[in-house]
């Protein structure tokens, strides 16, 4: 079982992801520099949060051209699970691996706080240990996390169960108030058509230890590990 955690210039959650995977889940996790041209041999690829290339121009706009992204695209085709968190989600959208875009938060501020998420699909490699409607408490930390896509795209996403998580209230209601950044239809995370690429604005790696206020994020990594073990056998 081997996780790759991509590292772009300006990534800053790579260490958090590596430590979480190694210390909390005791799996092998290795950093992969953005100039690498192969991600062969990894069971799961994580694109961590941060400010790749300073988030200059647009978040993720420059990172998508890094050599490693060609390899990531091939891995995605082959069905390798790919998790993009925060800036990772932005990179996946910019790369066209996920539809839509992430734009400036509705209130224009960067926001760092715990939010509640409702799990909408538990058949993905990232959520298989969860139940539909399950509520998770996980932090967000972003300035440009407002998910946007046109209505057709959104309808397609919804019809195919590709919305994985939505922002909700503590009791699971999908309301305007529970939407921290103005994302359309309260979308916090989506998957691709094949179901092996997840983009997620909240940070599950920051919610894997109770001393950090929540360990609800374990669901995502535990599911991935289970999935990978399953696929290997």
């Amino acid at each position: 079982m081997k996780f790759a955690v991509l590292r772009f210039p300006g990534s800053n959650c790579d260490q958090d992801c590596l430590r979480t995977l190694r210390d909390t889940f005791e799996v092998t996790a290795e950093p992969v520099w953005h100039k690498e041209t192969s991600v062969a041999g990894y069971d799961v690829i994580v694109i961590p949060g941060g400010f790749s290339f300073g988030d200059y121009l647009r978040c993720g706009a420059i990172a998508r051209y890094s050599p490693v992204m060609t390899a990531v695209r091939e891995a995605a085709q082959k069905g390798t699970p790919i998790l993009g968190v925060c800036n990772g989600f932005q990179i996946l959208c910019e790369s066209g691996l996920l539809p839509g875009a992430l734009v400036r938060n509705r209130k224009l501020h960067f926001i760092c706080r715990h939010v509640h998420l409702r799990l909408e699909n538990n058949t993905t490699p990232f959520t298989r240990q969860g139940t539909i409607g399950q509520i998770l408490r996980i932090p967000i930390a972003h300035g440009e996390g407002c998910y946007f896509a046109d209505n057709d795209t959104l309808d397609t996403l919804e019809q195919n169960g590709r919305v994985a998580f939505r922002y909700c209230t503590e009791d699971g209601a999908i309301t305007e108030d529970a939407n921290p950044n103005g994302s359309v239809r309260n979308i916090a995370g989506i998957i691709n058509e094949n179901g092996n690429v997840l983009g997620l604005m909240p940070h599950p790696e920051r919610a894997c230890e109770s001393r950090l206020g929540s360990d609800d994020g374990r669901l995502v990594f535990a599911s991935l590990i289970e999935f990978a073990l399953h696929s290997a056998s």
Binding site: N12, F51, G143
Partner: protein, 750 residues
């Protein structure tokens, strides 16, 4: 392009006195040229030489068994924290740049202090910020401007800290008219390292190559040094910016590259280019190494064409470092810089003659004994005015007001309100360490590198220091120590930022001197050596100098995770106790200031011995598992502190308490600000043990009441004051956001 002649005018414009000029001539044995004059001028400025404050700074205790690098030796002090691990930390101000351009000013302030820390070889792990602005309430004069400054500074800090991936986990923020037009922006950074990883800013090893790495040099920050630069290059005078623009992305690359570099063993010495950029870094490294340095400006990576030696040497472009490399290791160094896509160049080498020698196009453009620049800077013993202690407040002159209304008014004042609007803009969770983030007395950070829990708090009190500078100095140190104790931590050391007015004025110098003496006294009492700090003088606005505002950041360690304590009440049925002495008047209180508009009275004096015992006793009680929550009573007195305990837990928890009035008025009982008091909540089953402990340690302890319900009830003899928590929560939680809701955002924050 010819350098201007050295006339008395030019000398004066460089802030150099005729006596200083003579001294320069003696050092050189000749007249300096224009470039050399510029070099002396920045190196002998207050910012680099502390010429007005150095004698005062000597009063701080700076040694102790944990000190590995002392204050003043390097960019930041370093403290031993056990098992071969150490911390490097420091606070730094960026007040003047933030007044001119709040976003970039604050951002580059963050960048500067982070560089100071990784220059020491430490991995930076968190930040704190201490902020002061003019009033922002709608009715206040210049409210819109003050809001813009406030908003700009917060987004600037957020921009830089978030991008580089360092959490800002705590701070303090005050609003007062004294800071209108002259905001204070002090930022603190802490890093961790192994003892053997401590890097030195010394140029050692004759013949070792000197590398420049980081952003290209531009004409940044030159007007800031305020010179006769107009004659320099006519075409560029218009666009010579006083403000530096920060590039946190570059700094992140620089940080990672420098840590890689230090780990490679190729580095003989390293120094960041902060104020006075290339000048300061070359002569300081040479001076520390007892060596000389020979640098060719042609080789320096530049952003603009046609820069003069003067401009290159004095540029304050950000995100640059000077690295002295062991001869033979150049390729290893190049490889690392190339991996991180950083501009770099080998610009010179270390020499044995003690001279800082600067070349350009084959000519020598400056030649100065390096040590003269750093060690022979003038030192001034300024005059201090006499001081008469302020009159004690005559309480009969304070009209009695509606006290039920007073508490929500205080809680909704920007200075006392919940600062969530600020710290939600900071990524305070990155690095997965903020076990106690912003919103409790001290922040607690789990440093995964060394598996240790550090606590940190930053405090200052301009009002008290204005009224009684010595007490103000003691007070901020004691409060920081108390905040740490409340979180369960033992303090290890402190760093300070002295924000004062113009020291040439005897009354200002008096404030500086007394405040430093008060801080020094308190640091001795708590056994927290000062590991370094920063001095920011000439903080004045058209209405006069700011209230003197020394700020101290203190760092502590928590032995065991189970000792971590927070300020919020945890549930119903706990007993509430007040530890520490109780009686005082409304002198120098926020109640008197915010509700009556008066900066008056004789501040109650900090009893350092009693504080030390109080903190130790609290820590003992925490270790014994007796304490459910602990919160220090500071600004706003016991009433505000109680409200904060009710409002800052995981859920709202009410309280019902009785205050003894000591024959005083109710407003005094509720809102006086005697230092040295801590509110704790305990399980009733543990009360007896707490009482035994406090009796044994001779710490006054009073049971006030019980937690529970959905209101805060305070009874004083026959009166009882009742506040529904919902209303208090509304006042405390929403006021800052509501005030700032309509402020146009700084658009370049991405």
């Amino acid at each position: 392009m010819k350098d201007p002649a050295i006339t008395p005018d030019v000398i004066a414009q460089h802030g150099i006195t005729p006596e200083e000029y003579q001294h320069i001539r003696t050092i050189l044995g000749r007249d300096p040229n224009f470039t050399e004059l510029g070099i002396f001028s920045v190196m002998w400025s207050e910012h680099c030489s502390y010429k007005n404050s150095r004698p005062e700074l000597k009063k701080f205790p700076t040694s102790g068994p944990r000190i590995l690098v002392k204050a003043g030796e390097e960019n930041a002090g370093v403290l031993d924290v056990g098992e071969g691990w150490a911390v490097a930390f420091k606070i730094e101000s960026h007040n003047h740049p933030s007044a001119v351009e709040p976003f970039q000013g604050a951002a580059t302030g963050v960048g500067g202090i982070i560089r100071d820390i990784f220059t020491m070889g430490a991995r930076p792990i968190f930040l704190l910020d201490s902020l002061r602005f003019g009033p922002i309430e709608n009715h206040a004069p210049d409210a819109a401007t003050n809001r813009q400054l406030f908003s700009g500074v917060v987004s600037g800090i957020a921009h830089y800290g978030n991008c580089i991936g360092l959490p800002t986990i705590g701070g303090e923020t005050w609003f007062d008219e004294t800071y209108a037009g002259n905001p204070l922006v002090n930022v603190f950074c802490l890093g961790v390292l192994r003892h053997e990883e401590i890097a030195r800013g010394a140029a050692r090893g004759i013949g070792n190559p000197v590398f420049y790495v980081g952003a290209e040099t531009g004409r940044d920050g030159l007007a800031g040094a305020a010179f006769a630069s107009r004659e320099l290059t006519e075409e560029s005078k218009e666009d010579r910016p006083a403000v530096q623009v920060g590039d946190p992305f570059r700094e992140k690359l620089l940080l990672e590259a420098c840590l890689d570099l230090l780990a490679s063993g190729a580095v003989a010495g390293i120094q960041d280019m902060g104020a006075a950029g290339l000048t300061c870094s070359t002569c300081e490294t040479a001076s520390r190494g007892g060596s000389g340095i020979d640098v060719d400006l042609n080789l320096v990576p530049k952003r603009e064409e046609g820069m003069t030696p003067y401009e290159i040497l004095l540029s304050e472009s950000q995100e640059r470092m000077l690295v002295i490399v062991h001869k033979g290791q150049e390729d290893r160094v190049r490889e690392i810089f190339e991996k991180w896509d950083l501009p770099y160049a080998c610009i010179g080498h270390v020499t044995d003659d003690g001279i800082m020698r600067i070349r350009e196009k084959g000519n020598i453009v400056a030649e100065i004994p390096a040590a003269a620049l750093t060690d022979e800077a003038p030192v001034y013993h300024r005059d201090a005015a006499d001081w008469t202690p302020p009159e004690a407040l005559d309480i009969t002159t304070v009209p009695e007001t509606d006290l039920i209304a007073a508490l929500p008014r205080l809680l909704s004042h920007p200075s006392l309100a919940n600062k969530r609007w600020i710290w939600e803009q900071y990524d305070h969770m990155v690095r997965n360490g903020a076990v106690v983030g912003p919103g409790s007395d001290a922040a607690v950070f789990f440093a995964r590198e060394c598996e240790k829990f550090f606590a940190a708090a930053v405090d200052g009190n301009g009002l008290i220091t204005r009224l009684d500078p010595r007490e103000g100095g003691r007070r901020c140190v004691a409060e920081a120590a108390r905040n740490l104790a409340c979180s369960g931590a033992v303090p290890l050391g402190a760093t300070d930022n002295l924000n004062f007015g113009n020291p040439h004025k005897p009354e200002i110098f008096r404030q500086l001197r007394d405040a430093v003496e008060g801080m020094a006294e308190a640091c001795r009492a708590f056994d927290t050596p000062v590991t370094g700090g920063n001095v920011s003088l000439y903080n004045e606005n058209p209405a006069g100098p700011i209230d003197p505002t020394p700020v101290v950041a203190m760092v502590g360690i928590i032995e065991h995770e189970s000792h971590i304590t927070r300020q919020g009440f945890r549930g119903t049925g706990d007993s509430i106790w007040l530890l520490g002495d109780r009686a005082a008047g409304l002198d120098a209180s926020q109640f008197l200031l915010l509700l009556h508009g008066r900066k008056e009275g004789r501040p109650p004096q900090t009893d350092l011995a009693a504080e030390v015992t109080l903190h130790q006793t609290l820590r003992d009680a925490i270790r014994d598992g007796l304490i459910r929550s602990a919160h220090d009573c500071a600004e706003g007195g016991v009433a505000v502190a109680l409200a904060e305990c009710c409002l800052s837990g995981e859920t709202l928890v009410g309280a019902d308490v009785i205050l003894h009035n000591d024959g005083r008025r109710d407003d005094e009982s509720l809102f006086h600000e005697a230092p040295g008091r801590i509110l704790v909540s305990v399980n009733p089953a543990d009360e007896e043990r707490l009482q035994e402990l406090t009796t044994l340690c001779r710490v006054p302890a009073y049971k006030l009441g019980t937690t529970g319900g959905d209101q805060l009830v305070i009874r004083i003899r026959t009166s009882s004051f009742v506040w529904p928590l919902q209303e208090l929560s509304e006042s405390w939680n929403t006021s800052l956001g509501a005030l700032m809701g309509g402020v146009a955002e700084t658009p370049n924050a991405s």
